[in-house]
Amino acid sequence: MTKILIENGRIIDPANAVDAVGSLCIADGKILQVLTPPADFTPDLTINAKGQIVCPGFIDLSARLREPGHSQKGTIKSETRAALSAGVTSLCLPPDTKPCIDSPAVVEYIKDKAEAADYPRVYSIGALTQRLDGTELSSMFALKQAGCIAVSNAHAPLGNLLILRRAMEYAGTHGLLLMCRANEASLSGKGCAHEGAMASQYGLPGIPVAAESIALAQALELAQLTGCRMHVSQISCKQSVIKIQQAKKYGLNVTADAAIHQLHLSENDVLPFDSHYHVIPPFRSEEDGHYLREGLANGTIDAICSDHQPHDLDAKLGAFPETEPGIASLETLLPLTLELTSLHRIDLHKTLAALTQKPAAILGLQAGALTPGFSADVCIFDPDLPWQVNEQTWHSAGRNTPYWQQSLIGKVTHTIQGGRLLYKFRNR
């Protein structure tokens, strides 16, 4: 296999507390040595990373690839290309595919497609309940054996709290991580925007923050009761940050993530009736955004995910409430993460850890670090390179992003997965 030498880059590896300019050597698909190359190292490929940052490949806790079932929106092939161009070398696929990931056959199908797309690190999240209908437990043991990394009910509601309790106990029995998107459906109803000033003004059905925080409070209580290892996905409000912080303080083994766009945009940024801002959970108030960023800075929020949801054009063409929610967000993950440092003064090591070391720990993966012997999943990026989000630079099949045509700073230049250079940025 190819030996790769990455030289002159600033190597940042939060897991190993490394931040220094030096070289990274890759051999046999693995990290060989960091900072100084061995004397006898003869690379087949040398990458000059001068002025760039070299870090572990990003691990995305939630990215929809739209296959199987919604290939008009994107395919495993197209979306894993987008992932590579975004420096994402491992990703978790939520179970709301069609059919949903409630049987080993679907897991196998995804695995085959991912291998055919030359992107083996697609981790399926199994459905928590059969058909995601919230009533009967899925065959979690079989799903785990087939390769599911966790279980979740995605955005689908559970019938009642007893089912959540049993699901936690059963997932715990098989040592499966339970990923929970907190939402009390009776409170969120047909809402399509944050229940705040913007929704009040434009007459959009609102989703109160309590729809999330009440469901979260219940889930935390049940996690306490059952001892289930729970990860809370895509929190969006102040109340959720406070609840997670308290739960952690009192020793509950819980982790949480936020979607990158939630750390930047608020209801005030939503252009009236522009469906590109239609996302669930909705963009909350400025204060909520502030608490999310603070939660990330103080470690209450462990990880940043893309919550990538590519859509076809039709899905976003219509009156705001009838359009499908979601943002194609893989490729804006890095520049927006860098903005957390440039704009909001959050330590770069912290934000990079939230994309590498932390999600690896949540998933229990031997990844997210440049430790010798680990699989060589590496991302090289230019933190100062401005680029425009447009047809020329974009890889995802979904162009549904509020950042379309905008200029962002920070671009992934090389992505190495398993020691193979799979993406190289060509400045077109």
Binding site: A197, S200, Q201, Y202, G203, P205, F273, L317, G318
Partner: protein, 321 residues
Amino acid sequence: MHRHLQLTEHGKLKHFLSIEGLSKRLLTEILDTAESFAGISEHQVKKVPLLRGKTIVNLFFENSTRTRTTFELAATRLSADVLNMNIATSATSKGESLLDTIRNLEAMHVDMFVVRHALSGAAHFIAQHTAPHISVINAGDGQHAHPTQAMLDMFTIRQHKKQFAGLKVAIVGDILHSRVARSQILALNTLGVAEVRVIAPKTLLPAHVGSMGVIPLHVMEEGLSDVDVVIMLRLQKERMNSAFLPSESEFFKCYGLTETKLQQAKPDAIVMHPGPINRGVEIASSVADGPQSVILEQVSNGIAVRMAVMTMTLGHHGGAA
């Protein structure tokens, strides 16, 4: 965004989607133009040739006989050709998308869409995606806006009160679900009234009503104190089924407009209602038919205001001779 979408580069009205972003000058121009049309309905020949040769499509995705009829009359009196499309019962229920419906009608070379739709933002969406020569008038979109209704209310208020400065206006009832109230609030504040109060139980007020430039109140007697204008809103019957209210009779007790409650307002206060009214639910018959009620004037004024907005958006300013 609204501003650009609704106005031409010269600041003239291109579409009429929302009161938001429109200046006091422009709203006054609508009222003045409507004034010039108001007499026409009383002429023996109730037509002017301002929009001869133009085709106006009433595109109603939600049933409404009254609003559609006044738009139709307004268009007819301007000599336009009118096509009524009731899509609530036809195309989109067969799976045709909103955009396909618009494209098909565009191909028939129409000049204006008058749109009513059950979802907030539908009229904006159509205005954004329709051919540049077509004007769009919002005849009510979800819970967002009903700007012609608001302007006919402003017209009625101006007829009776002569000016907006210094007026205290109370809007009573289901503010939360009301596109009419949202547009009225924007129009009243733009035209410079002294105070807009909204009176309703907390279940029927938007979460952040305070940010809308109004004073929220829950006790009607207090809210009506010293007001010049009382605007009652229609209460939809289905609100009882989703825990917004216990019963119609309890609503009437607290928020129904009776002669006794009306005594809190100024003696010359006018009573308005966008219709159709629920007698004994939001308003007592004796008030609806009483001397202070201007409800039927609102209906006649609706035609003049819609004629004004149609001529202004299609580029004929100045109104009738």
